[in-house]
Amino acid sequence: MQLITTLLAVTLGAGTSLLYATLGEIYTERAGILNLGVEGMMMMGALSAFTVSFYTGSLILAIVVAMLIGGAMALIHAFLCITMRANQVVSGLSITLFGTGLASYLGQRLGPASNGKNLVGMTASSFTDYSIPFLEDIPILSAFFNQDILTYALFLIVPIAWIYMYKTRSGLTLRAVGEDPRTAAAMGISVSKVRYIYTVIGGMLVGLGGAHLTLGYTPGWSENVTGGRGWIVIALVIFAGWNPGRAIFGAVLFGGINAIQFRLQAAGTVIPASFLNMAPYIVTVIVLTVMTLLGRKKRGKFSPPAALGTSFSIEDK
């Protein structure tokens, strides 16, 4: 019982950064923009949050900066893809290349002189877990109520994200832009503006996800702190069917695998870990295949936004 509760708690903690980033990428892709720069953006979010926290001790400032950085990188991607009509795959990969390189570089230059300018091994303020009185005594469910504030925030943010997408006027606009930009434009919607907005917002959430890695999950910076999570996020978006509500399952599932693997590694076995780590990727390929096959019969429930990855111009005849 205790083991399950512990595992569940760790899973939620691990899944938090994934979930933020997944929500962000869902919104971006719903607008029709494929952003493969998530890995680089999470890295930079993680780095900037840690650096700010290290030098100022302010967690709020740290996450704000992380979100701004994520948003700024997303803005570059948006500018290249929307205004300059560049290839979205190449642009996103460039952002990842740039982001991971820059994070590695700055990680070795922004540290204190006492540590050879390296940030590795430094400690900074981080998010602590708060438990909610009374609720923390419920077996198993207590795992949900013994988390840090960023995880708690998700309890609100996920439902809001879902309502926003499916029940509001703006959400309708967003979905239309991703499905059929031509029609959206004819209805007076500025497709570029919508795409810019949600790409940047998505980037901010991705940056926040990165921040949670160095400030919440495993406090501390290290090279490759994201460990390829950015790519898992891309997989999770598909797994969630581009639905903010369903994102929870994927984030929790893969967060869980991550958590279990950590425990196993601590116990000294490395071999199964590789296969366990492979699981998310294998599962995603299978899920993607199944969804593609299903999508032929039942439209809309599982398919990606029809205009994902395409560029659009009103005067294209």
Binding site: I163, S170, A176, E179, M187, R299
Partner: protein, 515 residues
């Protein structure tokens, strides 16, 4: 539309466009065009493809910004910079390709983009308003259905409802009956009529003269971006209009050899095709293509004609039935096998299926011959032979292109079609499948296409001609088969039939016994 119910209102100009000019790289779509619309009236905008009708209306709808000119609504000058400006002024446009998001419901589509809705719209209110308007105008629309579940006629009605919901007074319809059966067109007529009686007005774009006569009060003819004439519809005849539209007498008769059909080259036997969604697109189709005969396929687009052509060319598999080529069973053969067996195909959508736009004219011309000598040897292409061949074809078929290495996408529609024709006719093995070959072409190019088809027929080829223009079918075919909802309604002799008979079969009404 709605002509019968309308009273003539004098000098009640609700819309005036003055000096509208719109330029695109390489072409001036509208050259100082004026237009005037009275309240409660229908104006037909007549012209061939490329005359500037859609472009002019797109300016009005806020999709294009004119380079010069001004627009006046009810006497006041207005600026239209976006579709929303246009809607706010009460102008609504229905395009040929519907602007509907397929994976959303009717209600969602109708409120898409509306500004004066609460942040969280109350969908029940929306549904109620939709139902009320739907009943008022006889539109019969269900707010909760997804667009992909609706038929084309129903989708058009959703588009109309969309405009009415948002308060449009001036309706612009772009080729509205292109996708409707004659019955549905008459229903549309009634619907518009009800709107006119409330003081709304309409402009409809068309290239069909008979529609102009039947449905409008005034007609404005455009040619090559300029206004040629504005007349009251009861004061002109179709022949006058045709002449104005085209600038010269239309050839109504084409020269051809005596009709003497020969061997059966292609035999379609009881073919049915069911698509992925379970819909029957072809049902028990049987027909023959004979040497020296043009078999025309008539019908409103979307009734299985394109699928039929794709079955014969090997692009679409059959669910049941057989296909025979020169008495050999080729059911399920690949497109390559069909090509090797002598089938030439002029596809429905020339840019999407007929050519590779980013490849050169020469490359496109050689796409049927590159597999064999002299174009290639042992898998290696012979560049100089290809270029020489291309130059010859460009010459013979009079394709207007700067070089043989120019990318095909930069050619005009007519020249792209000529490229396709050149390629297919040159390598034709006696069977030609032509699908909407003169769509979107000007009169000169259209004439060239029809003459070429007849020439193939006179050379003893078996020709299948799918066309939306009944006139074209009657002019070029020897026999005409009418398709409706995936079935052949009847096969008639082209010289002995008329538009009424064909029209009725197109609407699924009468079944003639095959000759």
């Amino acid at each position: 539309m709605g002509k019968e119910t309308q009273k003539k209102t004098q000098d009640n100009v609700i819309l005036r466009m003055s000096g509208i000019t719109k330029r695109f790289p390489g072409v001036t779509a509208n050259n100082h065009v004026d237009l005037s619309l009275n309240a409660g009236e229908i104006l037909a905008l007549l012209g061939e493809n490329g005359a500037g009708k859609s472009s002019l209306m797109n300016v009005l709808a806020g999709l294009y910004r004119p380079d010069e000119g001004s627009i006046f609504i009810r006497g006041e000058q207005v600026q239209i910079h976006s579709p929303q400006d246009s809607m706010r002024l009460g102008i609504g446009m229905i395009h040929q390709e519907f602007m509907l998001v397929e994976t959303m419901t009717v209600a969602e589509n109708i409120i898409l983009g509306m500004k004066d809705l609460p942040f969280i719209p109350l969908m029940q209110e929306v549904r109620n308003k939709i139902t009320e308007l739907s009943e008022r105008y006889g539109l019969k629309v269900n707010p909760d259905k997804y667009i992909y579940e609706l038929s084309v006629g129903e989708q058009q009605r959703v588009e109309i409802l969309k405009l009415v919901y948002q308060g449009a007074d001036i309706l612009i319809l772009d080729e509205p009956t292109a996708v409707l059966t004659p019955q549905e067109a008459r229903d549309l007529n009634t619907i518009i009529g009800m709107m006119l009686s409330e003081g709304k007005s309409a402009i409809f774009i068309t290239h069909k003269m008979d529609e102009v006569i039947e449905f409008s009060h005034q007609v404005q003819v455009l040619r090559k971006g300029e206004t040629v004439a504005v007349c009251k519809t009861d004061e002109v005849t179709p022949k006058d209009l045709a002449k104005m539209m085209v600038g010269r007498e239309i050839l109504f008769h084409l020269e051809r050899d005596v009709y003497k059909p020969g061997e059966v080259r292609v035999h379609v036997e009881d073919v049915s095709v069911i698509d992925q969604t379970g819909r029957a697109v072809l049902e028990h189709i049987s027909l023959d293509l004979k040497e020296g005969e043009v078999l025309g396929i008539a019908g409103v687009a979307g009734n299985g004609q394109q699928e039929l052509s794709e079955v014969i060319t090997g692009l679409m598999p059959v669910t049941s039935g057989y296909l025979y080529l020169d008495e050999r069973d080729v059911t399920g053969a690949t497109p390559l096998k069909m090509i090797k067996n002598g089938i030439s195909h002029i596809p429905a959508d020339r840019s999407a299926m007929g050519v590779v736009g980013d490849m050169s004219v020469a490359d496109n011309l050689v796409m049927k011959r590159y597999r064999k000598r002299p174009m290639s040897k042992n898998g290696i292409l012979n560049g100089s032979v290809i270029v020489k061949f291309a130059k010859k074809m460009i010459d013979v078929f009079k394709i207007a292109t700067p070089e043989s290495s120019t990318r095909v996408k930069f050619l005009s529609g007519g020249n792209i079609q000529k490229t396709i024709l050149a390629r297919e006719i040159d390598s034709c093995g006696g069977i030609l499948i032509a699908v909407y070959p003169s769509r979107g072409l000007d009169v000169g190019a259209t004439e060239a296409v029809r003459k070429n088809i007849l020439k193939q027929r006179d050379n003893r080829a078996a020709v299948l001609l799918v066309s939306e223009e009944l006139e074209e079918l009657m002019m070029v075919s020897d026999k005409i088969a009418v398709m409706f909802e995936g079935k052949i309604m009847g096969i008639v002799d082209a010289r002995e039939t008329n538009i009424e008979q064909l029209g009725m079969m197109m609407a699924g009404m009468v079944k003639e016994s095959t000759l």
